[in-house]
Every structure is written in C-alpha cells, then in structure tokens.
Symmetry: D2
Subunit: 431 residues, 4 copies
C-alpha cells in the first residue's frame, strides 16, 4: 500500500551513516561504537544507524586494499541464492548465516533503528555462477541485464524488469532484510548516474524495489542515491521513495555548500510527509578515516552553522557523517540545538524568499503559529543581510535568535543581521 | 511591494484572448464584440479581455498580408518616445494619442478587465531612429542590446539591464499602460525562447518589468510567454510573475493535450496564490479565422472535457481562445460548468496520483472539506480507469459526477469509471 | 613496424562476410560452401572469407535461440587461457584445440584468405572465472575494466591499458590467430559505440591491438567496427588500422544508401594505401537467412548499381554480404564488372564534384591517365544529371559507358546522362 | 566558373592584416605605412595587404571609443544603395565616392594586392532606412532576415537567400569592390559562429557570395571567418572558398598554439590548390596597439619558430598580424626564411606522422623530390624528439637544418633532435 510507504518517514529521518568516516570499510565494532554514541543523542531525534557500501566485501577497508575503495571484481560474501551477506571477517556476528540480525538487534536494544546500503541489481558473481533465485526455478543470469551497470562500481548487474526472476530476486533480498530487522535501505546507483545517457533514473528498478518493500512484511524507509536526482522525476520519486538525493556526494567544501542553495531552491516545494529531498550527509567533526586521511571537517564554524541552518529550514533528512566516537563539544552543540532541529522536524512550507549572488533568506512556518527566518551571507566578508517583513504576512513582536549571539535588528518592517563570511542566523518570529 | 504582486491574481485568472481566432490581426470591433459576449459569462468568473500580439502594426491582418502573421520590418505605430501605440487603422478609438484608453474604458464598463500583449524589449525602429527615452536624456539605441532578439519576430531588441535608459524605457511603457487602464500584460519572448543558447529565460528583463509594474501606480497581472518555462527557474518566475506558460503554443491536437499531462506532473507543486503555471489558451469552438483557416476545434467532445478537467484540477489560468461571437451551446456548457470551475478557482493541493501510458488520476481538496477526483483515459479506446481510495485519506460516501452522465463505481475501496477514448470524468467526493 | 601495417592492404580489400546472411550462427559447412563460390570469382579480386560474430557460442544460430542474435550470458567455448575458440558443435574441425586452423588451411588452399570477427576485450566468463593470462602470472580479472562494456553484446569486458595483463592478453589472442593462419581481423565495439559518452572511440585498445598484431608474426588486415567512426579520429584510425567503418550497420534501404553519399563526402580525402574508410557490406542477392527472414535484397537493380558505383569510385573495401551459394546472374554481374572494380582497386584521388538534394557527381583518376566519372540521381523519378567538364582538367574524346546501356551525352563541354530513379552511370573518360 | 576560383590561390596566400595590431581602428596612413614595409619583403612572397573590420565606422579607433572595439548601433558610412564605404575621416582618399580605389591603386603600385574585410549581410541601418538595392526595384528590408544576426557585432542582418534583392545586394557590393580594385575579401561571421544553434555555417550565404564574386568581373580570393570551421563542411568550403579559418581567433598564447596541432591534425588532408585551411594571423613582433595595449608578442622565440614551422609545413595561409613599421630583425628573420617558406608555398602532401602528449612530427614532400621533416616538443622542458625513417619511404643522406643551429642526429634509421621547451626543428631530407 503506497500510503503506508509515507508513514515510515512522516518527518525527515535523522541518523548516522558510516560513509564519511569509514568509507567502504566499516566494521561491526565501529558500527556499534558509533551507535552507542548516537543513542546518547536520541532525545534530540537521532535515530537511524546506517551501514554504508561494500559490507559483503571481506577485504574492504583492510590494509591489503590501501587506498582502494572499490576493488574491481572483489569476491563478495554471498549466500546460495545469490544474495550478498555481511562479510564475517568484518562483521563477526554475521557468521553462520545470521547476517545483520545480531547487529540490528543490538541497535534496536539501544532504542535506535538500523539501516543498510545496497547497490541496485544482482551481483555479477551470482550471475556468472548462475545461482538459483529463491522462489523460482530460474537462475541469476535470467534476472540480469548484461549492459545495465554502475559507472563507478563493478559489483552488480541491473535487473531486467521484463524477467520473472528479476522481481523475485528483489523480493528475496528484501525478505532477508526484513528477517534481519532492517528499518532503512539506502539504494545506490539508481537515482542519478552518469554512465547511461538514456537512463539517468532507473524508474523500473525503483518500482520493483518499492514492490519488494511493500511485500516484505516490515516497514522500511527507502532512500535513493546518488544524486543529483532529476527534478523532472520528482513525482515518481515521491510516489516510490521516502527520500532521494538532490546532490552528488556532499563534502566539506564551501563551493558544494554554496551550490546546495541552488539545489534547495529547485526542490523547495517537493518535500512532504514521507517524501523528502535529501541534501546528503553532514561532514562534521572527524571524517575521512576510511579514506586514509582522517581530518577535522574543513568547514569553518560559520559554514557548519550555515549548513545546519539550511538543511533544517529546508527539511532535509539529517545524517551525521562524522565519527561519533570522537564527537567534540562544538559539533555536539550543532547536533543538539533543539530549536533548530524543531524547524527540520516540524516546520511547514519552507520557502526561499531572497537569493542573489550575495545572500539568501529562507522562511517556514513553525508549529506554534510563528515563523522561522534564516539569513545567509554568501560573501567572503561580513555583510548585513536583510529581509522586508512585507515578504510574508507576519507581524513580528519577537525574533528569537536560535543559534544565539546574533540578535536580529528590527527597523521599519525590515529584519536584518550582521553576518560574518559564509555565516547564517536563524530566528523564530512571533507576532 | 512583492506581496501586492500576488494579490492581483489570488485565484488563477480567467478570460479571453484574441490569438487563437484572430492571430495578429484583431480589430477594435472584434475585441469589443468578443468582450460583450464574455461579459455574459461573467458570473462564471470570466473576466479578462486580452488583445494579443501586433496591435501596433497597421497592416497586420489585412488582405495585403495574406498568410503573413509577422511581416519582417513592418512599420509600427509609435509615439515620440519610442513607445508602440495601437494602430488607428485597426483601433480607431486610439487616434489622437488616446491609445487603448477608450477600449479599456468600454471593457471596464462591461464589468471586465483589459489586457494587452507586448514583446519584451524596445522597437528596433525606435533604436535605429534614436528616439528619446522618456524621463532621460538618452536615446533608444542606448537602451538596447543589438544581439538580444526574438527568434520568431523581428520587431524588438532586448533591453540592456546595465543601461540607465533600459529601466527608464520599461518604466515609460508601463506608465502609459497604467494611464490607458491596462489590468493585465502578457509579455512575450521572455519565458523560454529558442534562439539564444545562453539565455533561455530572460531573468534580468523579467526583473526590470516587475520593477516597472510595481512603479506604474496600477495593479497589473504579469503573464509570461512563450513556454515551456524552465522548471529550474520556478522560484524566480513565482517571485516576479503571476502566471507563466509551461508549454509551447497549445492547439487542438491530442498529442499536445496528452503531453500537457507530463507538464502538469512537472509543475504540480508550483501553483499558489498569485503564482500560476499556465497551460495556455483553450482552442474551443471556432478558431483560426485570422490564420486564414477558420475551423471548429479539432478536439472531440471527450477531448474538450479532458482539457477542461485537467486545466481546472491543476488550477491553470483559463483563457478562452475561440470566437465568443460564435459560441455554440456545447462550448458554452464547458465554460459555465460551475462545479468544474470551482475546482480551478478554489481547489487546493492539486496532485497527480497515478500516471502511466494508459491513464492518469488527479485529486485536489475542495473548499468544503471534500475532495475532487479526476480520472483520465489516454488510450484510443474505452477503458475502465480506477483509483484506490487508500491513495488519500478520505472516506467516501458520495461521489458527485461533475460533468454528468458518467457515474462513479465504488467497490472495495476502489473508485472507477468507464471512460471513452481520450475521455475524462470528474467527481466531488464527500465523506 | 607501422609501415608494414599499410602493406597488407595496399588496395581496398575485397571479400565475403557471413553476417548479412547468417547473422551470429554461421557454421563451418556454410563458411566453406561460400568460400568455394567466392573462389570462382577470385580473378575479379575477391579474396577474404570472414567469419563474423559469435563463433564461440555453441548455440548461436540454433533453433533453441529462435530470433535471438545475442544471448545474454551465453556460455562460450574458451581455452584455459581465457581465449575464445570456435564452438566445435558449429565448427567440427575446431575440436581438440585446433581452432580455426583447419578451416583457414582449406580456405588458403582455395587461393583465398581467411578472416575472423572479434569483440574488443576479454570474456566476462574468463574474468569471473579468474583464468590465467598466458605469459603472465596474472589472471583475467586483472586485465579487465568492470565498466568498459559493449552497449549491445554482453560477452566481454574492455581491457585496462594500465594493466600488464591487458597487453599480454591481446598478445596471447593474436598469437593464437597467427597460429590458426588468420589473415584479417574485424574488431568490433571499438570504432564507435553508443554507450559511453566519454569514450566513443577506444584509442587505447586500438593501440594495444595494433601492438599485438605487429608482434604476432603474421600480417593481418585490421578492420574496425562498428561505425560511424569519428572524423576527428581519422589520423589515429589511419595510423593504426587498415579499414574502419564510416557508417553504422548498412542494409538494403534507400535511406541508408542515400545517407552514404553524405558519409563519403565527409571521408573522401581519407583513403590511401593501407588505410581505407569502409562503407560496410554489400547486401546483395539473398540475405537475412540467419535472422529468420531470408529475402532477396530490397534494393532495386538501379539502387544496386548505385551502391556498387559509389563504393567503387570512393574506394571503399568491398565485402559481399549475400549468400554466395545462391548467387544469381544479375548479382554476379555486379560483382564481376572488371571496369567498375578497376576504379575501386586502382582509381586515384576520388572526389565529389557536385552534391545537392537531387544528384551527385564523383570523379577519380584512372590508372591509364584517364578519368572516371560517376553520375547519380537521388530523386524518385527519372532525371538528367550533368557535369561541366570545366570541373576538372580533362579533355574528353571518349566516354566509355562502364555499366552499359546508358551512353553519355557530350555537348558544349557538359557531360550528362538520363538516369532512372535512384540510378547511376559510370564512365571512363579519355582525352 | 568554379575552376577559376581555385586559380586565384594556387598557393596559400601570404600577406599582412591590420587586426592584430590596429583592431577596428586602422587608418589609411597606417595601412599604407605597413604596406610599404611589406613591399620590402615581396621577394619572400608577401603579397596581400588586408584592411580588417569596421572601416566604415568614422569613430572606430578614436579616443571617444576608448576600449570599445564594436560600438552598438554606431552610424556607418554608407552610399545611397546601402553599401558600406570607407569612412573618410579615417581614409581621406575615400572621400567623394572614391571608396578604396585610391588606396588599392597605391598598393598595386607597390607591387602588392589589396584586401578588405566584410561582415556577411546587409547593414541594419540600410534595412531600417529602406534604402534601394542597386539593379532592383526593391529595398534593403526586402533582402534581410531580421533574426539572422552576428553574435558579437551588431552592424548587419543576414541576407535572405529566398529573396531576389538578396543576391542583387551581394552582386552590388562585389561589383563595387571590383571597381575599387579589391583582390581579396575576408568575409566574417560566416564560417562558424556561435549564436545560431541551427546554422553554424552559412552555406546559403557562402553560395551567394561565391556567385557574386564569379559575376563581378575581377578575380578575388575568398577567405572565410571566424572559425573553427566545421570539418563536416570541408567539401562545401573547398568548393566555394579559397581559405577558411580552422580556429577561433588566434593569439600569442601557448595553449592556443598547442591546440593548433589538434586542428592541423584534423584538417591535414583538406588543403589543395585554391583551397586552404587557415590557421589565422601570426601575432609576431608588436601587436595590440589598437586594443589599447601595444605589446611585444608573448610567444617565446622558440614558440614563434614552432608556429612558423607548423603553419608552413601544414601549408596554412600566412598573414602577418604584427606592426610592419616596427619590424625587428628577429621577427624579420622569421618572415624571410626562404627554406621554411618554400615548404608552405611548394610542399606537397603534408602529413602528421606522430602526435602524443609530448611531441609531434610532421612531414611533406619537397618540390625537388626530397622531403621536409618537422619535429616539435610540446613539453615545458628540453626533450629529444625522434622519428623512425621507416615512417616514410625515404633514404636520407642529408638532413639540412632549415632554421639553423639545431643539427639532426641520424642513427639506426632514426632521426632526432634535442629541442628546448615548446621548440621545433625543421629539416630538408635528401636521399
């Protein structure tokens, strides 16, 4: 039932994802260590622990793969039905066919939810080994399209929507995930990819996956990657998925953050209950360990606030990318500002009011009948950013400074603030 | 003030436009004849009378121009300030510098509003004659960009936003239109045009025009053409205009009508008070007279209802294109169905629920707390089109058939109707 | 040595290829039957017998594959080094590791030369089986690029030019072909293919193949497919290959034949000894058997002559595509017209003189100091096609009609002929 | 007669052009001063003196136009037939309707030939003034296409090939140029321009101009600009023009010079008597005066030799761009190296032998039965560049060093030279 689909993500999801820090090599221990830290922030709304790509590759992240995130033709751990399972060398509890169930259980016991990353399609090694497809008398090669591949990872073939084995294969993996206790699936290589001129968005595969989730017996959030998703497919994305990336991979680079304002402008009317345009993970605190270059985020503190402000007023899902086990106080303060997060969870009708080369202004309605207002300075120096109150029908008696230390100036029906380079301010206006 | 901008079109405008029937050659007499007929439908909401393109060309539409809609380098009627004025040979009341004022007054006296078409820019003949620009000591050539031209009409040069004379020229023409009593301006060659790779949407000129309207002292609806507008510019369009074309010129051809479903899918979340994506004129009844080929619309009756249903549930502006003086009863019935028009005027949150190669289903909320539901059959034969009520949270006790003769079938939480080829049904659901 | 490269094809090659008639399913018997017929035309210059695609697939062309030219993930016959070998079920003499050697020997005994088709790359089944690469301690997966695939055939992965195993693999297959006695290799999926935006022409693989041929110890003609090759790569193609397709697959359709005039115009200056732009096979006589639809060529007799005339004056290689065992007298006459073929073998400086929507005229120099002149009628009715002799410095005392029955008219320094619809005439002019 | 067309440029033209130094503002005095200097080099082959763009604009190049090369809507000097004539303020001898005739006569008296630049089309000021077209009863507006404009200059409208007045207008201007004694016409905005997606090459206008030259009664070289010309139009260019630019404007920048090797590779087979791909002017010595920034060429001496070597072995036309009145000895030595220029004038079959990221090698046949060989170093440091003699059939007893100081090394059938950064060597090989 499609409606139920939206019920699993009535508000934009919040959580932690392993990619920004551990790349393709996260281990069970790291996953659980981070989960334990995330659980401490649960009251702020942080909920999902997502194990990102390549968890079935026993050697991913090991020294033998120095600097290699995706190894061509790496042997993957797979069951007899051609389904990828966690590599026991990295996820010891997965041994003996238990898969991610033990980890999911531990995470559930922390009061959190558990998510995994998958690539669309069926493993090439299953196809060439002609493994049987569960519930059919067909084999993996009958489910696959030999020329439907990912541009940047060689593990999978795309599924042939015209084949019976294809839907059966997707059904078989999502039933397995349901058994494991998976609550969130990030499907990759499906939302926008660069190899195929003619199929930048895999509509048929999205529909097969939607069907498989609906049939698997467990609610799961469906998240689509990578981006940028095509705005022309907004309706189809919303019908079938709960969140979808509106950007290519996001990292700690001002150019990418500045660019996100353009993407949020484009997608501002597309978010609604159960259907969320996604600005990608938050590269905060310590990141990059799995890429061989652990580092503090390159964003200035002002840029970090700007990012949080934009993601929240726009209502993007929030997935912390940094190492939770090394969370510093500053970063923690960003992740636990209740007023800012309230905009993300309960704001309504987010809208860009002003955007030019120098600045942007966004607003949304707050749950208490007031209004959020965010001011952004794009320039490399300080700048006063202003907005006429005539832009929206709102009398303003009070403008609460949600980050603090940056009080609003109200004069002649104009609200303004002095903002440092790349800085932001966010206010809660009440009449 | 931008907010005021939206106030002039809180609901999607309805009216009549001269293009579909009179092409570039409409006359004062024809304009007023059609206005008088439109006034009879005023209680249904029909309000604007819009004189389309080329009204300053004395010979447009005359026998000497047989089959020529746009004559290269045609001499245009112009005042001393390089402003185009109505050709007195076609609009006799415009003589002696009265411009469109007498016509506007007559139309206002009918209880209607008056609109005109303009091309973006400044007349080439003003530029090459170096006419002065009102309120400046500059001349027309100083306001123009020599390489900013329209792909399909040779009258104008685009305005240079970096010049002082440019904004002054736009201010000067909108002040004139305000004096005339113009209520609606359709600006052409601005919303999407095909010649310039690098500037498919004239942002800077849109902003100059917005400024000129805000400064002219009279509220005016700003309508942008032609289309398709770029979805990536949705925010800018909404900030500056009241309606904008989401399609190239629309005519009575099923392929174009079928295509409009794709365009409405794309733009479905962009309409709001004062900001309306526009599906273009309604080629109903008798059209094409000015093109030398008067004809009855080529749409079947089913297709005509399909068009009205889509335009109304989507909340497109409605501009009748057919000859009002030859309005037949069937066409009149389409234009006066109060229940259908109510969806266009007061429906909220229009949303496509289903669309595939065979069918589409749309819904919106009605003002009384009920819901509109529209079913569409894309196929060339009869087809039963259905929708699960689970698609939206709505108990359904009654499904009122708004066009009549096509009662809904309600069974097991599925609502359906038997629809003829290219046909539609529209219902008002109440719980 | 590059110079030697050109020596194997000083004149544009002539031969027969199995594709047009047998598709992917030609057998040893069919190959030899056709070779025997071709040998009878040897005195006209016909020399190469080329076994086209999929000869390692045991089931290709069998009833179990009804209508399927390329079977996804079909098991291919392969040796221990990951090299494809002929399927013994279709090529019985290939059993026991003899490969194509026995067939090559028989064809050589007929006084002919033997060619094979290959896809660029290394079999996916070798890669996933990690077969060793001859002469290295590496395996097939170390030679392959997982995302370098063909758009229309799923057998192979492209070779990684940065890997040692890659060049070694190419060397290993060409050494095998040399042992078999192969004289001609048509490499497919390399000249222009549509999947990869960023690599429409596989320069690095062409260079590896060139290296492998130069090192294999036997002269071989290198033919590249499919087309259209990119004109911007003309120099690289000429440096490395002996012939390359300037068109996508050519069939018996006037539109394709008309289009070839545009392609020949584009490539007219690029042919020289050892380096030939290739107009593709001649779909003459009986073709299509292997596609399940044997048919007489759909070209009219006039169109057939037009094709032969263009291919010959342009100096394209000539590869008969029709069934040699069912060669009718008419078709045979096309293939054995010594005067026409002389233009292909020995003409110099072919040049288009006239081309417009109605007609074309080509000329080239003949070995005896005279000149060839070809007149073409593009229209669907009869037309007189003319050319001023002033177009080239040639006194004309005699204009020998090379096809016969269509004498030239010479008047006032203009040569002309009455040509039927889609017809051609070809003359040998002498001063 | 087309053949005659090629006769006016049997060898690639050599001359001087005013653009690189004087931009749009050259004067009669400057033109003649430069001509007198060029005449001193006549024995080296330098022949054409070409007055580049905007000679009918009285104010071009004056102080009132500081920094403005093309003034929007500048009033141009024009005769009663809408034909542009030289501005007498800049070309005093042109007064009283004498046009360029006096200047042409003076230049002819120096033993040189005279050329002018024109934009394709008809002046906009003629069109809007509706001036009569000579030899017709039509006016300029009837010859023009209102939307056929240049992307970077606003003077002209393109000519409508469907109009009678169009060909008549072109005929009228070329007859005037013939009366003036013009020997060379550089037609601009016709060979490749960027505004019009659908018409990057003005085939119809090229044909009208060809017709007008053939009919004007005086032989004239037809040179087409700007570039890059489309290789797909090579045949049409060769049929109608004598030279055409294969590059956008060329300046003294190594990136552009390096890029020219790619362009010469592309066009290497297209040059022949009367038909020359053109690498653009030589920015040598002092240039840029008219742009307000006179400077010595930014090319190093090595780069200057590299440029001369490439242009000459490729057989590009040579048009000196620098100030002839300030010619220094070094630059003069580049322009008068008889051996190098002989390759440009009489070399045959220029061919690129090697090109990769580091180097290139070119060869051509010399008139005496020997061979030219040019070695180029693309790297930023010294490099030994080599070529196997096996690349061409040529025994080599002597390798004459044509620039001097860089003797060839001959060893084991390999010829090589040590070249400095961006340097070149050129040899004449004899057996």
């Amino acid at each position: 039932m499609h409606l139920k689909k939206d019920d699993v993500a009535k508000r934009p999801p919040m959580g932690w994802n392993s990619w920004d820090n551990y790349a393709s090599g996260v281990t069970e221990e790291q996953l659980l260590d981070n989960a334990r830290e995330l659980a401490k922030l649960k009251s702020s709304g942080w909920e999902y622990v997502v194990c990102d790509i390549q968890w079935s590759d026993p050697l991913a992240g090991t020294k033998s793969r120095k600097g290699i995130v995706y190894k061509n033709f790496a042997p993957l751990t797979m069951d007899a039905w051609g389904r990828l399972i966690p590599a026991a060398s990295r996820f010891p509890s997965a041994a003996d066919g238990r898969g991610f169930a033990p980890i999911a259980e531990k995470i559930h016991d922390m009061g959190l939810k558990f998510g995994i990353h998958i690539m669309r399609g069926i493993p090439r090694q299953a196809v060439h080994a002609r493994t049987p497809v569960l519930g059919t008398n067909q084999t993996a090669d009958e489910a696959a399209l030999p020329n439907s591949i990912c541009a940047w990872n060689g593990d999978m073939y795309g599924i042939d929507p015209a084949s019976k084995a294809g839907q059966a294969y997707y059904d078989s993996i999502f039933k397995l995930y349901a058994q494991w206790g998976v609550d969130f699936v990030k499907v990759d290589d499906i939302c926008h990819e660069h190899l195929y001129k003619d199929a930048p968005y895999g509509e048929a595969e999205v529909e097969m996956i939607r069907h498989a989730i609906d049939a698997c017996g467990r609610p799961m959030v469906l998240s689509l990657s990578p981006g940028p998703a095509l705005i022309g497919k907004a309706w189809h994305l919303g019908r079938n998925a709960n969140m979808w990336r509106i950007t290519d991979d996001f990292w700690d680079d001002w150019k990418l953050l500045r660019d996100m304002f353009d993407r949020c402008e484009l997608w501002q009317r597309q978010g609604q209950e159960g259907r969320w345009p996604d600005c990608d993970m938050l590269p905060l605190g310590t990141i990059g360990t799995g890429f061989g270059q652990p580092r503090k985020t390159r964003f200035t503190r002002e840029e970090q606030r700007t990012m949080m402000t934009l993601w929240c007023i726009f209502r993007s899902p929030l997935m912390m990318g940094g190492d939770m086990t090394r969370l510093d106080d500053w970063t923690k303060s960003l992740l636990t500002n209740a007023s800012i997060l309230a905009a993300q969870q309960t704001g309504r009708e987010p809208e860009q009011v002003i955007k030019d080369d120098m600045q942007a202004v966004w607003t949304s309605l707050s749950a208490d009948g007031g209004r959020y207002l965010a001011l952004f300075n794009f320039t490399d120096g300080p700048r006063k950013v202003s907005c006429s109150l005539g832009e929206f029908e709102q009398t303003v008696k009070e403008a609460k400074d949600l980050w603090g230390g940056r009080p609003a100036q109200l004069e002649n029906d104009v609200i303004s603030a002095e903002l440092p380079a790349h800085g932001a301010a966010m206010y809660h206006l009440r009449g």
